[in-house]
């Protein structure tokens, strides 16, 4: 089972990237239309639903559900990181003439910065202990509950629980270290 996830290659992730992206776009449009009061909660449910649907549709060609979730979580991470990078680049372009007449979403900027920082720390974790970084991808970027992460990785729930806390300790530690330096 474990091999399933480890064989997720960049090709597969790239293939899922536009799918995840389109899903997000659809969900975002949905929000604009309905102006849901609790967007966070709603989005989480919608993405879950979308993932499950995709897993059913594509599961066969993707060496099973576990494999699919591995790739989808990775794609979610990449969507976030690539947009955060793009935004950062845009921000750097010509400081003087850039007049932020209205940056209605300064908060978004800040979150984008922390997405990039998290991605960096996660890269460190990847070289240190790959399984821990997988747990983070599946749990956080994939939004899977611990039981499903355990299923995908083929380990016990207890192990996932332990890995998840260790991974977050590592990441916080790493973020603090880079912040200080």
């Amino acid at each position: 089972m474990l091999s399933n996830v480890d064989t997720v290659n960049s090709y597969e992730t790239d293939a899922l990237f536009p799918v995840v992206y389109d899903e997000l776009k659809r969900i975002a449009r949905h929000h604009l239309r309905t102006a849901a009061p609790d967007a966070t909660l709603c989005t989480t449910e919608l993405v879950h639903e979308a993932f499950l649907k995709l897993a059913r549709e594509r599961g066969a060609g993707w060496a099973g559900r576990a494999h699919f979730f591995g790739a989808a979580s990775r794609a979610m991470r990449q969507v976030l990181v690539s947009f955060a990078r793009r935004r950062q680049a845009l921000k750097r372009g010509g400081a003087w003439q850039m007049i932020p007449l209205h940056d209605g979403d300064a908060a978004l900027e800040i979150e984008m910065d922390s997405v990039l920082a998290l991605d960096g720390a996660l890269a460190q974790l990847e070289t240190t202990n790959q399984r821990l970084s997988r747990v983070v991808e599946l749990r956080f970027f994939g939004g899977l509950p611990e039981s499903e992460v355990a299923e995908v990785l083929g380990v016990s729930e207890r192990t996932v629980e332990r890995d998840w806390i260790k991974a977050r300790m590592f990441l916080l530690h790493e973020l603090k270290r880079t912040e200080q330096s």
Partner: protein
């Protein structure tokens, strides 16, 4: 990290995590005994354990959706360059945000060279946009013309329906970047902020609120010129639907770092919201970070802090922050702290009431003059406590509409609060007593607990402070007045007067002219409260020579003197008292202090005096004005709101307009039930509501509320308890519950001695006795009623409202006994008392009822034309005051119709 090293660390980490945190030390002692480096690494990981529990708790899907949506819009907009909008051609995109894209543009018709910024608002928004309002708001904004406000030139909808605005193109940098890049000192930053405050003041004067002030909306050009952007934009884009604006737009438009507490709570946003945001921006300029940090700490946490936490003093924040406060001659401590914390207060009414007041203080600081802002201290909490305990004993009761006693309560915070602000704070501070006072209060008031009662606190505080300041007459004088106020509020006149008297002597001994005036005013005030208006006036007379010697009378002193005089004469000459209160209110208006609770309170006093002067119509107009101020967010203290709602209904009751009175009381009793503290216990409202319902003939509800008024019988004033017992007796009588009737009458008798000083007290019992007296022959009935009215001091020239009920009950009995002349006389008199103005003939239920009695007397006399005329006149006021379905109205209509036939 090296995977091998991690494996070693992880093993120890696993071991530790298998144990409880308090055992970690022991685990590490054993596992790392030979490797201190390992131990250090594991320990630093374990330090993250608590935070790790909540870190990355929910997946970032909403964020992902948001940026995908945003960049998607961006791609569509990229096609915009070169596009023509109105008479402008877009050149390039120069800014973007969640709500809009901004383009540099130039005139497309080439008539003259002008560069502008064109702001395209987010596509999709137009569907929610109220276009007529968008146009109207745009015109208001286009009229703003101030050197520090970026102009709005034009605007409209593009061909595909996207709203756009054409704005002055400002080549500048956000004010925080500008300051940092030029390494400006704190003083230079404050100077740069003055034009910002000017611009906001200008916009506010033109009734435009910004709502989204933040560094990126405050640009500074290369020449150092300040320009504010996006004034009124938040409102302009607000959808017409209010529900949406409260939840969605409110959030959408809020930049959390600079949001005011009322924005986080989605409460009413006013000009004072801008004051808060200005405070937040200035805070960042001086300390390097907004008052509660940034969103990176977590949005919920940030919002929670905005609503609940007190910001760190800027001086403390600056020393650890970006260090921007450094390099200045003047420290941030003290005055600048006070200025910022005042602008950042949670309660809108406690901030600067205007941008110009804010500016004045900044300027005073820059000039080295004392500022008006004072730190929010325990003294404030104490004062609040004082205020809450004020009204109960201070409120003076007034006219009575017979059984329904309409007592307009006073919110006596006004002068207490102002004098404290002007004198206690300054004088105490001068004499260093405040520090001791505050620290004492800190020690004595347990936060969130009630370890000590208010009285114990005062007694102990007075004791400690008098000892501590034995050799310091100025402080003792101040403290004496403070504590005297407490005793007076509690009805302990002797102790109160004694303390004030001591302060007068102290003021004379140190020859402090300002204090000599003030302590005498306090003396007058104390006497007025203790019900000795003559002594009060005598003290005021003694104040005058000192007053004329003072070169500059502080506003607070003047307020105190006029307030005391008003209180002294309110019974004998309420018209003049109203004028005195009005003068105090006028000074608030002149000083621009109307956005605060004191102003509402003094208006309440004006209304009280007008009510006592039988000018109820004017009184109610003023109270409505106060209600309006409250609706606009100037008086959010629910306690004062309770008094206000009560007072409005009391005046309506006095006018005989029971239906409006009932509506306002319904609002009052619907307020938070915990509002049962001393100034306005829930029992008062229950009493008032019950008596109005009684008048409206809703006897079941009336009985319920009147019974509720006795939940804590000791809290209900005798002036309320007495009529309440008679009403309950009447209700029981109507229900045939004899025991209950006897019980209520016995209770009324037992209360009577406590109420006997009240002018209206005897009338309740007499009205009851007249209504329930045994029948008898006509001469006997007439003689008995006449004797009973005599016993309460009734004369044909009486004007007291408390005579109305005995008169009407008497007239009713006399009609039944056939004595129509006397009946008509009494009923007519009742109308004269009740009809305070011409409107009452159309709206007062009392007038209507009295006219019905007159009509019945006319019928007995055989004058059906007169009866018909009287009934025709009676029906409209009955319908208005009591309602179309009230038994009295129905009976009057039936009677009228029967005569017609």
């Amino acid at each position: 990290m090296d995977p091998d090293r991690w494996r070693v660390i992880e093993r120890v980490l696993d071991e530790a995590l298998a144990h409880r945190p308090e055992q970690w030390q022991a685990v590490l002692d054993e596992a790392c005994s030979t490797d201190p480096e390992l131990r250090a690494e594991v320990e630093s990981l374990l330090r993250q354990a608590t935070k790790a529990q909540t870190f990355l708790a929910s997946p970032p899907f909403a964020l992902a959706a948001a940026i995908v949506a945003e960049s998607n819009n961006g791609e569509n907009e990229a096609k915009n360059a070169g596009r023509r909008i109105g008479s402008y051609r877009l050149i390039e995109e120069i800014g973007r945000g969640g709500m809009s894209r901004v383009f540099l543009a130039e005139r497309a018709d080439g008539q003259f060279e002008q560069r502008v910024a064109v702001k395209l608002l987010r596509p999709g928004l137009d569907s929610e946009l109220d276009q007529a309002r968008f146009r109207a708001e745009r015109q208001i904004l286009a009229a703003l013309n101030h050197p520090n406000v970026a102009r709005l030139f034009d605007g409209g909808l593009t061909n595909d329906g996207v709203p756009y605005l054409v704005l002055e193109y400002v080549e500048g940098k956000p004010i925080n970047l500008y300051c940092d890049e030029r390494k400006l000192s704190a003083v230079e930053r404050l100077e740069l902020f003055l034009p910002v405050l000017d611009a906001v003041q200008y916009a506010h004067r033109n009734l435009v609120v910004h709502r989204d002030l933040k560094p990126s909306n405050i640009l500074v050009t290369a020449d150092g010129e300040v320009k504010l952007l996006d004034f009124g934009l938040a409102k302009l884009l607000e959808p017409a639907n209010e529900d949406v604006s409260l939840t969605q737009t409110g959030q959408r438009w809020m930049t959390p770092e600079y949001a005011a507490p009322e924005q986080v709570r989605a409460d009413t946003v006013t000009t004072v919201t801008d004051i808060y945001q200005l405070g937040a921006v200035l805070y960042e300029l001086l300390t390097g970070s907004p008052p509660f940090g940034r969103r990176s700490r977590g949005l919920h946490e940030l919002e929670g802090a905005i609503v609940h936490d007190e910001p760190r003093a800027p001086s403390a924040a600056a020393s650890t922050g970006a260090g921007t406060g450094a390099g200045t001659g003047k420290p941030l401590r003290g005055d600048v702290d006070a200025i910022l914390l005042k602008a950042l207060r949670k309660e809108p009414e406690r901030r600067y009431s205007s941008a110009s007041a804010f500016r004045d203080d900044v300027e005073r600081f820059l000039r080295g003059q004392p500022v008006s802002a004072r730190p929010d201290t325990a003294l404030y909490r104490f004062r609040k406590l004082v205020r809450r305990n004020t009204v109960a004993s201070a409120a003076t009761a007034l006219a009575a509409a017979a059984l329904v006693v309409a007592t307009v309560l006073s919110v006596r915070g006004m002068r207490v609060a102002r004098r404290e602000r002007d004198h206690v704070e300054q004088a105490l501070r001068r004499s260093r007593a405040s520090v001791a006072f505050e620290s004492l209060i800190f020690k004595l008031i347990p936060v969130g607990g009630a370890a000590m009662t208010y009285d114990q606190l005062i007694a102990r505080g007075r004791d400690v402070l008098e000892r501590q300041f034995r050799g310091d007459p100025v402080s003792r004088m101040e403290l004496g007045i403070q504590f005297a106020q407490h005793y007076l509020q509690q009805g302990n006149d002797t102790a109160g007067l004694l303390l004030v008297g001591r302060s007068v002597a102290l003021a004379d001994s140190v020859r402090d002219a300002q204090m000599q005036v003030r302590t005498r005013c306090e003396m007058a005030y104390a006497h007025a409260r203790a019900g000795r208006p003559d002594s009060a006036l005598a003290w005021l007379a003694r104040t005058r020579p000192f007053l004329s010697r003072l070169p500059d009378v502080e506003r607070g002193t003047l307020d105190a003197c006029q307030g005391a005089e008003g209180d002294a004469i309110i019974r004998t000459n309420p018209d003049s008292a109203a004028e005195l209160y009005r003068a105090i209110a006028a000074r608030s208006v002149t000083a621009g202090d109307t956005a605060d609770l004191d102003y509402a309170n003094i208006l309440n006093d004006v209304a009280r005096a007008l009510h006592m002067a039988k000018r109820d119509r004017e009184s109610v107009a003023i109270l409505m004005h106060v209600a309006d101020l409250q609706r606009k967010g100037f008086g959010p203290d629910p306690l004062d709101q309770a008094v206000l709602l009560y007072n409005i209904s009391a005046v309506y009751t006095s006018l005989g307009e029971y239906r409006p009175a009932r509506e306002w009381l319904a609002k009052r009793v619907a307020l938070v039930p915990s509002l049962d503290s001393a100034p306005q216990p829930a029992e008062f409202a229950a009493y008032a509501y019950g008596s109005v319902l009684y008048r409206l003939a809703e006897l079941d509800s009336a009985e319920f509320w009147l019974t509720r008024a006795f939940t804590r019988p000791e809290l209900l004033w005798p002036r309320f308890a007495l009529p309440a017992h008679y009403m309950l007796a009447r209700i029981a009588l109507a229900r045939g519950r004899g025991d209950e009737v006897r019980h209520q009458l016995a209770m009324a008798d037992s209360i009577y001695p406590k109420a006997s000083k009240l002018v209206d007290a005897p009338s309740h019992g007499i009205a009851y006795r007249i209504a329930t007296m045994d029948g008898g022959g006509r001469p006997l009935v007439a003689a008995t009623i006449s004797r009973m009215l005599d016993s309460i001091g009734y004369k044909p020239t009486s004007t007291g409202q408390w005579f109305i009920d005995p008169l009407l009950e008497g007239a009713t009995r006399l009609v039944a006994a056939g004595a129509y002349d006397a009946a008509t006389r009494y009923a007519e008199h009742a109308v004269r008392i009740a009809a305070v103005d011409s409107i009452t003939y159309r709206q007062s239920g009392i007038v209507g009822e009295a006219q019905v009695v007159e009509a019945r007397a006319a019928l007995v006399r055989g004058d059906s034309a007169q009866a018909r005329a009287l009934l025709a006149r009676a029906v409209p006021p009955l319908t208005y005051g009591l309602g179309a379905r009230h038994p009295a109205t129905l009976a009057a209509v039936a009677l009228r119709d029967s005569i017609g036939r």
